[in-house]
Symmetry: C2
DNA sequence: ATAATTCAGACGTTATATTGCACGTGTGTG
DNA sequence: CACACACGTGCAATATAACGTCTGAATTAT
């Protein structure tokens, strides 16, 4: 999300137009200069949070109405085109399919474990929950010194704020999808 | 809300400490320099929304958890100390008691009309609702060419996206409280 | 039609957000 | 004790956000 501020600009411009406000009027109301407003609207400049606060306050807007992303109705992510994060000498590969963003409180990966691979994952912060959907192979997960065996088509859900271990003890590859949810707190 | 960015700094520092992260680690995770993080935490610098985005993404946080205001448990606002906005040659006075802020979608005024005063208010944008609580005197409000008489202790609620008129036709002062709610849309 | 007004964008200047480097302060470890 | 290491902060350099002024185009008024 490099061009994130362009969204804010479009939102501001749309709202300003809806209300039939000129840049001058908006500048007067918000206390932000006309030039700056124009640059923000055109994505030429990323405002500081103080000026964003001024704009939101002057226009009587919430933050969410300003930062709300334009969601394309359809997006396709090709796994082939995603660079995996490799660990355990390439035996453990993570493909970020849906990266985290502050609006959406979760992220989605596709994970591959070669036979015999054991991966020890660091605990996440409190309130984080993992949803593991196994597609191929049999995955062993260790949480709280307890071993869980997850067969294909099965799903494991657990609070990931403690260390956990993924193991592929079978002789075929394990492919699974992992959804990680971060609580707002 | 002049020192608005200090709140964000405190929030970031609190969360970082909760997770036992150093500035170096946080810089590595978020892609924002250690120095900048330190300055933001101490309120010495107001970040742009792009760096705030980086921080929120790297730390897996929502915007709301970063911008959430610290609310003092008790606040008292003395009307004597509030500068009113005067119109109609001082016959119409507006005291802003609770100013708008982007988190809280409303604002509260205390309004005074001298006897005989008529004030024509411009329409607000769509979705705006007004709640008028009359404390003293009798207030006449005209909305949609319809006249409403509001006695003391009574409350008038109406969509304020059209022109409306306040009138004091009695011989005593009218004092009322007005809550204006701005829809998030 | 001409003048006046309003609008959006360009230019130059100032203020400040952002970075990399370096310094001082602890905190353990040999 | 000395050494290394991690942590937070200060400083100079740079990038860029923010502002005021001006210009050209479009709209409205006279």
């Amino acid at each position: 999300m490099e061009e994130f501020h362009t969204n804010i600009g479009e939102n501001i411009k749309r709202i300003r137009k809806e209300r039939n406000l000129s840049l001058d009027k908006t500048a007067e109301i918000t206390g932000v200069s006309k030039t700056m407003l124009g640059q923000i609207e055109r994505g030429k400049s990323a405002p500081t949070i103080t000026t964003l606060w001024k704009i939101a306050s002057g226009l009587r807007l919430s933050f969410s109405s300003l930062v709300s992303q334009y969601k394309p109705s359809v997006t396709i992510v090709k796994k082939k085109e995603v660079n995996p994060i490799v660990e355990n000498n390439g035996q453990y590969r993570v493909y970020p399919l849906v990266p985290y963003n502050p609006e959406q409180q979760f992220e989605i990966f596709s994970v591959t474990l070669e036979p015999g691979c054991e991966h020890i994952a660091d605990p996440h912060s409190t309130g984080v929950e993992e949803f593991i959907l196994v597609n191929e192979g049999t995955l062993e997960v260790v949480v709280n010194e307890q071993v869980y065996v997850v067969e294909p088509e099965d799903t494991l859900i657990f609070k990931a704020d403690r260390p956990h271990i993924y193991r592929n003890i079978g002789d075929r590859m394990v492919k699974c999808s992992i959804v990680i949810h971060y609580s707002s707190q």
